[in-house]
């Protein structure tokens, strides 16, 4: 709870300073404290955004990710370490537990240092595959920086990434005003498994890039680890509990030197990019975006109030019953959900991309309705209210109103409200006289009743005289 208080206090004290929605305790695992200074601009940027950085060496035995069964930190940055193991507190199991407890991890790799086995097996669990050889390098003979790596071609230059799909928000595209370039110096690539829907690549290698083992003495690379677009440089995984995990292939991307180094692109395929001017890299902006996303400052959706009520149950919110547990079949119901999006420093109304929409499922075993939720016109300063009105199906049972909105780079929204839909009660059917088809039968009933009464009357007042002897005869 402490982080929550600190978050509240911070939010009150400094409105300008952005802060993560999940707390600001950031652990930086750095083996060599001398390296710390070469990334000072990155630390400063993080510090400015409100993070409290604590630097620890993986060799420190006192380091623990958890305290009293809770997370001791909110976020972790893992820098490449020289040693093969990462120590007892940074095992794959512990890191996975950290993710399961809703902590975020930014993992930086480097081709200079082999990846520790703890991290390899963790990545394997997440369906992210590193090259089997201990050393690996991404090179591109067409898209490298001629200023720093004209010989080795291992500083890959990439444009800002496009959106993953048409309907997915792009958090890493920059402002796309002028041509921006990201430098990826001496990094390790990885591939992503094909089945996990939780993985989303951020930076994929250019078509001409490939990864190979520099220790291999052969002149020609026989079987590169991966080539082209299959080779991922920066990838993310958002767990089901919305904990975020980012793999950054090259740690040097974050270094002071590369934050705004001058680079010049190689001529490219068939000399397409011949004669390009030297540019400054936008690594700094990219580093900010990727860390902001990983540490839950970007792409965080917050669900506010969820309401459902009878559409004609009352005009204003005070007179109608909100969120009843029971409805009747064929009731007209309105459902509304309030969603806001965290944009670095504050919550703003969420607007889905034009090609995407929020949907409401009315479901029992399988959806009976799947309806688009429309944003209401009434504006609120930091949230959008999506609503849908519908008629409940003619089927009683235990239904769920479910909003299942899971998109890459956005917090998973899976909200479920269970309601009981009952059958008609005995007094909710139309009365017999209201059904015109029943009039014949009603007339019949009353005809019989009246006829019987009349018959009894006639019978009683027309007793035959001297009935007694005749009655005897009959018997």
């Amino acid at each position: 709870m402490r982080w929550l208080f600190s978050f509240l206090i911070l939010a009150l004290v400094s409105v300008v300073r952005g802060v993560s929605t999940k707390g600001n305790r950031l652990l930086v695992v750095l083996e060599d404290s001398s390296e710390k200074d070469s990334y000072s601009r990155f630390w400063d940027d993080l510090g400015e955004r409100g993070f409290e950085l604590s630097f620890e060496s993986p060799k420190n035995d006192g380091l623990s990710l958890f305290q009293h069964g809770e997370r001791a930190y909110d976020h972790i940055i893992l820098f490449p370490a020289k040693s093969k193991g990462l120590g007892p507190s940074l095992t794959a199991q512990n890191l996975l537990k950290f993710l399961n407890l809703d902590g975020n991890i930014l993992l930086a790799l480097s081709s200079k240092a082999p990846t520790p086995s703890a991290l390899t097996s963790l990545l394997l669990e997440l369906d992210i595959h590193l090259p089997p050889e201990r050393s690996n390098l991404v090179v591109d003979h067409f898209n490298h920086d001629v200023l720093s790596a004209s010989e080795k071609h291992d500083v890959v230059l990439l444009p800002r990434p496009d959106a993953l799909r048409q309907d997915v928000r792009n958090f890493f595209g920059g402002d796309s005003k002028d041509e921006e370039v990201i430098a990826f110096p001496r990094g390790v690539g990885h591939t992503l498994g094909n089945t996990s829907p939780l993985l989303a690549p951020v930076l994929r290698a250019p078509r001409t890039a490939y990864a190979y083992n520099p220790k291999d003495e052969a002149d020609v690379v026989e079987e590169p680890f991966a080539v082209g677009q299959q080779l991922n440089l920066v990838s993310t995984l958002q767990a089901r509990n919305s904990a975020r995990f980012t793999v950054l292939g090259a740690v040097e991307m974050l270094s002071n030197d590369w934050f705004d180094a001058k680079v010049k692109r190689s001529p490219g395929e068939r000399g397409a990019a011949k004669g390009v001017k030297a540019l400054k890299t936008s690594n700094r902006a990219f580093a900010k975006e990727i860390s902001a996303w990983t540490f839950a400052e970007l792409g965080v959706l917050k669900v506010g109030r969820i309401e459902h009520y009878l559409t004609n149950g009352g005009t204003n919110s005070t007179s109608r019953e909100v969120n009843p547990t029971i409805y009747r079949v064929k009731n007209d119901v309105t459902f509304s959900i309030e969603i806001s999006e965290h944009q670095l420093t504050h919550y703003a109304p969420y607007t889905p991309p034009a090609t995407d929409s929020l949907q409401l499922e009315v479901t029992m075993l399988s959806p009976f309705h799947r309806l688009p939720l429309t944003p209401s016109t009434a504006k609120s300063p930091n949230s959008t209210v999506f609503t849908a009105s519908f008629t409940l199906p003619d089927q009683h049972g235990i239904f769920a109103f479910r909003v299942n909105y899971k998109r890459p780079f956005l917090t998973n929204v899976d909200e479920k409200r269970t309601v009981t839909v009952r059958h008609f009660a005995h007094d909710e059917w139309p009365r017999s006289w209201a059904i015109t088809g029943g009039w014949v039968w009603i007339a019949g009933v009353w005809g019989t009743v009246v006829g019987w009464v009349v018959f009894v009357g006639v019978w009683m007042y027309n007793a035959p005289r001297g009935g007694a002897p005749r009655a005897k005869k009959v018997q």
């Binding site: 399961n100 097996s121 369906d127 595959h129 089997p132 299959q230 089901r240 009952r422 009660a425």
Partner: protein
């Protein structure tokens, strides 16, 4: 009974009063004995609701008392049959709950705040006292001898066949339904005897009560028309029959349609067509009788009679046509299984899986009825000797009920009243003959044929009173020469002694059976320790209490349907299926989840929002009523719906054995039920020594592994095991690999060998 030896106050008005008082005292004693003999379970255990169905009735009663009648009427229960829910108010027989509710309110009104649970527990014994009275009334209508009624009441009070369903705590529909059954029959016979619309209306009223209380009302619905039909066919049509039957049918049917569960069934299903047909037939017969009185022409009568037959045949034809066309529902599966005992096993396994729907084993008749079962035919024979209208009823009733009791164990209950009545008729006849102290004189009898010597020929009534003359020749041979009496006091003594012995043995047997077989609540098990003291095994309640205290209020529990009512009643948690087996597919879904591999079951569990799975396992104690023994029924029921996915054959070894040990089939060992039952079971034993005490077999050395479920609770004697369904893995792995990662085994990178086969990722 003008016996001079017995004393002055058995004669005249005083005598009648004394005997009346004595009869009343005896009846009250019988009722008290009936109640007392049903209290074993309360004394031995506690005041607790028994078994399965009573728990639902109890829960429904609590709902009724708490929310009032109208919300009970419209009750939609969202705690059972998740996520379908159950329109409970419209799918139950409310008679039982309303009865207890009324008693509860009346006691409140009298400032006697009795807990509703105690009312429910003691309702069945209380009503069994009333049943004894009703049996007395019914038998008294059949026999002029007062001892027959008293004997019948005594038999009915303590016979195990009825006690089995009416001990204290057995809060089931049958608890009040048997009283209503007997009382309705009594009223029907009364109405038929008197030809009174008043008694007919009373019959209809109690018929309505019966309809509201038990599905077995169909028995009355068919028995009374059959009686009427047989009477017509015997040429015994009378205005009395017409008045009583039409009154009963018109009022009773209209009344029964007021029960939502019954609704329009009385005019739309085959089971209810016979009263309608007989009603129509009676109208025609009555019309013909009327015409016959007016027109004495012989030819015309023949014509009319053929007309009756023609109309009858035509209406049967129309009935068949309507059934084929689907306007009238054909016989239900339960009904078919009454005619063909193998039918249910093939077509409706869910009905066959209930033990009380199995055919009755022969010893059960003696077990439940003791010496009544061999007095029963004698009683029926006596009914033939005095074949009045009401005796025809007893004959029909006994034939039908004997058949049904042979088909289904449960229907022993409907047989019991008629057995008691018939046996009492026979026994009272014997006693009336043999217990006279003074010898009758044959001369006096022959000379004075009209003297009502009730001792010897009480049941040989009016028609045979003047037999010696002309009418004797054309009646049954046995009735031709009248009984006169027993002269030897030796035979009197020996018969009286034998009968007393039988009666005493009967009482002993009833007490023994009640105490040993029928007084166990089955929620609580009792066992004997080596030193003879009683040891209570209370696993069920322990587990249900655990559920109640440790799971969220809206947790959904999946178990086999047998335990649905108990979970709802004791643990107050939502269940997927319960003992109200209205949806076969839903039960089959649970069966499929239990009998499939984890990978198949898990999506089913997820789809149904299951939080916990409960299984019953008797391997530790040797408790044979556990889920592994019921497992084949789950498989069969699931196979009925998904014949391609679940196959019963796969659960048997090649030699056709059902095994759980090393030789169990892979399907069996991978089924969820097997895994849940034997998970961690090895840890109780030294390595390789695990034994199942129910199946009496040695278990595989390595126990099953569970990936998608985790053990949440296991009761003291391992009878109940509860598993929690895991959520999806947080980082998107399947459960098996997540489990092996937690265990520490490393995932193998498979790329080095088969690089070419690697699938490319496409966004």
């Amino acid at each position: 009974m003008a016996d001079s030896a017995v004393g002055p106050f058995l004669q005249g008005t005083t005598g009648r009063n004394t005997r009346g008082l004595l009869r009343l005292v005896i009846l009250c004693t019988i009722a008290a004995a009936a109640v007392a003999s049903r209290l074993f379970s309360v004394i031995r255990f506690e005041s607790i609701i028994h078994e399965f169905d009573p728990w639902f009735n109890f829960r429904a009663t609590k709902y009724l008392v708490q929310h009032g009648f109208y919300s009970f009427w419209d009750w939609f229960d969202d705690r059972t049959w998740h996520p379908l829910g159950r329109v409970t108010g419209g799918t139950l027989y409310p008679g039982l709950m309303v009865t207890s509710g009324v008693i509860y309110k009346v006691l409140r009104l009298l400032s006697m705040p009795v807990d509703i649970r105690n009312i429910c527990v003691l309702l069945a014994p209380a009503f069994s006292g009333l049943t004894a009275l009703a049996t007395y009334l019914l038998t008294s209508e059949l026999s002029p001898s007062p001892s027959a009624g008293l004997l019948a009441a005594a038999f009915m009070g303590i016979t195990p066949g009825y006690i089995s369903r009416s001990v204290a705590g057995s809060y089931d529909n049958e608890a009040i339904a048997i009283f209503l059954l007997v009382f309705t029959f009594y009223l029907w016979i009364k109405a038929l005897k008197l030809g009174s619309a008043f008694w007919g209306a009373l019959t209809a009223l109690f018929y309505f009560y019966m309809v509201s209380a038990w599905g077995g009302y169909v028995f009355i619905t068919n028995l009374i028309p059959l009686h009427a039909f047989v009477l017509i066919a015997m040429g015994r049509y009378s205005p009395r029959l017409y008045v009583s039957y039409t009154t009963w049918y018109a009022l009773g049917t209209l009344a029964s349609m007021q029960i939502p569960f019954v609704g329009f069934l009385p005019i739309s299903t085959s089971e209810h067509m016979s009263p309608l047909g007989v009603f129509g037939l009676l109208q025609i017969v009555a019309f013909v009788e009327f015409i016959r009185q007016q027109v004495p022409s012989k030819q015309f009568q023949t014509l009319l009679q053929s007309l009756i037959v023609a109309i009858f045949l035509a209406s049967v034809g129309i009935l068949i046509l309507l059934t084929v066309a689907g306007v009238i529902a054909p016989w239900s599966g339960r009904f078919y299984s009454l005619w063909d005992t193998g039918y249910a096993k093939i077509h409706i396994p869910i009905i066959a899986s209930v033990s009380e729907h199995q055919p009755t084993a022969w010893p059960a008749f003696f077990f439940d009825l003791n010496f009544l079962i061999w007095l029963f035919p004698a009683g029926v024979y006596l009914c033939f000797r005095t074949l009045k209208d009401e005796h025809v009823f007893v004959v029909i009733y006994s034939i039908l009920a004997s058949y049904f009791a042979g088909v289904m164990v449960r229907l022993m209950l409907t047989l019991t009243p008629v057995v008691c009545v018939a046996a009492a008729l026979a026994l009272s006849h014997i006693l009336d003959t043999y217990l006279l102290i003074d010898s009758p004189s044959a001369e006096a009898y022959l000379n004075d044929g009209t003297r009502a010597d009730s001792a010897s020929s009480s049941t040989v009534s009016a028609p045979q009173k003047k037999p010696s003359s002309s009418a004797a020749s054309d009646s049954l041979r046995s009735t031709r020469d009248p009984l006169v009496g027993i002269y030897s006091s030796m035979s009197k003594l020996s018969i009286a002694g034998a009968i007393s012995t039988y009666l005493l043995l009967f009482v002993l047997h009833c007490t023994w059976v009640t105490s040993n077989a029928y007084s166990s609540p089955s929620v609580v098990l009792a066992s004997r320790l080596p030193d003879g003291s009683q040891h209570i095994i209370d696993d069920y309640r322990e587990a249900y209490q655990w559920l109640r205290q440790n799971t969220p209020n809206d947790a959904k529990i999946m178990s086999w349907w047998d335990y649905g009512y108990q979970i709802g009643g004791m643990a107050d948690r939502a269940t997927l299926v319960d003992n109200n087996t209205w949806n076969n597919t839903h039960i089959a879904t649970v069966g499929k989840a239990m009998s499939s591999r984890e990978e198949v079951s898990y999506p089913i569990l997820r789809q149904h929002d299951v939080d916990y799975v409960l299984v019953v396992f008797g391997g530790v104690l040797g408790y044979s009523g556990d889920d592994i023994n019921k497992f084949l029924w789950m498989v069969r029921i699931a196979e009925g719906v998904w014949p391609d996915e679940v196959k019963e054959r796969d659960f048997f070894t090649a030699r056709g054995e059902y095994r759980v040990d090393d030789e169990a089939t892979p399907t069996m060992r991978n089924s969820l039920m097997y895994k849940m039952s034997y998970y961690n079971y090895n840890s109780l034993f030294p390595p390789g020594q695990a034994r199942d005490r129910v199946r009496n077999s040695k278990l595989p050395a390595e126990g099953p592994r569970l990936n998608t479920l985790e053990e949440a609770f296991t009761s003291e004697n391992w009878i109940i095991r509860i598993y929690k369904v895991k959520d999806l893995d947080n980082v998107g792995r399947d459960h098996a690999s997540a489990m092996s990662f937690e265990k520490g085994s490393k995932k193998k990178e498979s790329t080095s060998k088969r690089r070419a086969a690697k699938a490319l990722r496409v966004e």
